[in-house]
Amino acid sequence: MNEIPVGAPRSQIEVQIDGKQVKAVEGATILNICQKEGIDTPTLCWAENLTPVNVCRVCVVEVEGSRTLVPSCSRPAEDGMVISTDSDRVRKSRKLVFELLDSSVEMDRSTAEVKEWMEHYEVDSSRMGSKNEIATVAQPPKIQDSLYVRDYERCILCYKCVEACGEDAQHTFAIATAGRGFDAHISTEFDVSLPDSACVYCGNCIGVCPTGALVFKTEHDMREEGTWDEETQEVTTTVCSFCGVGCNLELHVQDEKIVKVTSPADHSVTSGHLCIKGRFGWQHVQS
């Protein structure tokens, strides 16, 4: 959903990005322009179906005249801006930010694109010390029900789940960021268990998590058993049959069993979000 919705007429602006003059619509973010121009830009906390929170800082770019680097995901482009997306400064920041995450969080179950970016920026956090000597977010996973698992040693605090649970999708407000600084973490009130919280099990938090901190119980169990194999999984797109809304479902199938359900973020009905039935109610298919 990168198109700007048709509304009041907008003026056109022109920016220079990596030496190339480019036209854009007023209000477009720098990231919008990068994506349109095919400039691969890493993002962790940004998603097309959520409001940008610009907290992960891996999408930073250099803008001439700006003292610091700027987050491309949230910064609207301005006429005449001169932007570099691959300067030494930008590469250095992106690399170190990934390294800071890598040194404190388990990144091994991240999405394929996150892994590609980490490879691209040659991420190596070994100089920060081994994980048993330095502060990390290591902790056992929270398994409180049969639907999903919160494995917070994989949480990079991108705020996506909070947004999806709150104003950007579900309006349930079951989780929020609690604590401060390195102790900041995603939590229900007083850390009550999910079944006791306001959670409605829509699973939209799972849908947006980039690092495998929030996963289906099926996926968690299979990963622990060593049977999770994304390469052999088939994805079948269908329409949810529970009600008449018409949500698109993507059924991820491994060994003829549904192992997880997603919805495309650019689908006009769901914007990637589902409800408990669409997300978790597939057991009857297999019985």
């Binding site: 610091t68 250095k92 800071l100 330095i134 929020a176 609690a178 604590g179 007083f190």
Partner: protein, 601 residues
Amino acid sequence: MSDLKFGTEEPTAEEKTAIDELLSEIGPAEIKLDERFVVGGRTRVKDRRRLLLPALHELQNASGWISPGGLNYACKVLGIPPAEAYGVATFYHLFSHESPEAKDLIHVCDDVACRLVGAETLIKDLKDSGYKVKPSPCLGQCERAPSVLIQRTNKKDLTAVAESNNSLTAVNVEQVLTSETVTPQMTVPQKGSEALSLLSRVGVVDPESIEGYIKLNGYDALKKALTIGPDKVIEEVTTSKLSGRGGAAFPTGVKWRAVADQVGRPRHLVCNADESEPGTFKDRTIMEGDPFAVIEAMTIAGFSIGAEQGWLYLRGEYPVAAERLENAITEARKKGFLGENIAGTEFNFDIHLYKGAGAYICGEETALFNSIEGFRGEPRNKPPFPTTHGLFGEPTAINNVETLVNVLSILTLGGEKYAMQGTGNSTGTRLFCLSGRVVNPGVYEHPFGITLREVIEAAGGVTNSKKIKAILLGGAAGSFVTSNYLDLPMTLEDTREAGVSLGSGVVMVFDESDDLPDTVRRIAQFFRDESCGQCVPCRVGTVRQEEVLARFTRNTPFDTDEELLEDLSTVMKDASICGLGHTASGAVLSAINLGLLERTL
């Protein structure tokens, strides 16, 4: 409220009363059963959200912690999701989340100045005496270190500080607790001097009497402002070249003009009194010693930018200042200097006093807005700037206490005459917070252009005539300098050229016997503790920085540690959201460059 789910815990009678009193004027949130929270309800209860921080203070005071029952009740009547309110409550140092073991919680400052003079012994002694103790970041009492803040249940908070040359002992703390009446002496060594402007009334006037204030030219400046009109006030401020005293030195006239020119209404005037920079206590001195000046200056600022609402955000660790400011606001209302038709004109203006709850980051202007609004004190990305999108997303001018108080003498003297003090672009006088190894620590007012040496000599020089090892200039967000800098004129231009900063006016002196590696590690720990945790470079970068410093103090650094520190510094400066991350490595790197981390064993 049909869409929100609350817990089943009930508040105690005290908690319920405290919250009900807070809401006595507006009553609990009422949302019809069929009104969906997401559509109608949330918009209608939005303006209640700003009562969350005061409500948390009430709960903490009522039962010594933020209990599930209390929070649940506050959430119901304010219409706030419990998870969000919990997230806000856990953001602040001064809110406890476990059932309290004792009625009094003693926060002992173990920050840079206090740890030089026995803070750690005090912590141990208090613990041994059976008190519940929590080490605290700088409490802003550095001139009378060590110091403590006693947070109490169902009673007002107290501070205890070292008196004259004696250190503060566990016995002193006990005395303060029993007597409950402590009015720490004003530490303004220049008290009563003719040369003073910002401090002229501090220690001279009765801080609780508006009559006393008026007798000493109080409210003359406001009357003048009301006569000459808002545009002329801004013009005088612009002519005076007054720049922000909170650390960033932004021209005040430019800021005010920008807000006054906004079409959007309402507009807000915010006074940033969240003075939490380690080593800084100048704003506290003004607020405790001359609170009406702050209220008058805010009124003038509000008048000039066209704001009817003023917000004074005071750090939670200043109970004496809070009491005096509250009194000043009440007295000013009674005298018609706040409220409707001020001094018989058509100008309306009132001030809300907000107390922070222990978070350095809330001194960052956009974090401060979020804190008032009832959200976590996380800074916002800029742009947009406060002049267009400030408090509640509306046009806002935000100024530091010292900056605002300057406006009084600008109006009395006239901008041009004011600008004749100091140097070319560093006009006026500046407050310096002298602490550490100086004979007479305290707040000093000097014209810009005075040298660092003169600043230290005015405070009686170095204690026991020892040799200076280093000076922390500008606070933890500033940098260390050595005696090579003693002839540096204290102006914005000269310090900028020298690659240092006046920051919040901190001049903390360390002598050759002081353990600088320990001080530098404490500064690194300060940033680690105070990072809000929102952006990755600062959240993890400050932790890694502190770990490197800890390795240095243990004499077990990795070969690559200096390089790592420099990389962390570059990236925290380049990629962090706000000034905390941008400045978190300044003092640390300057210490390394000056060789202060080398142990002289």
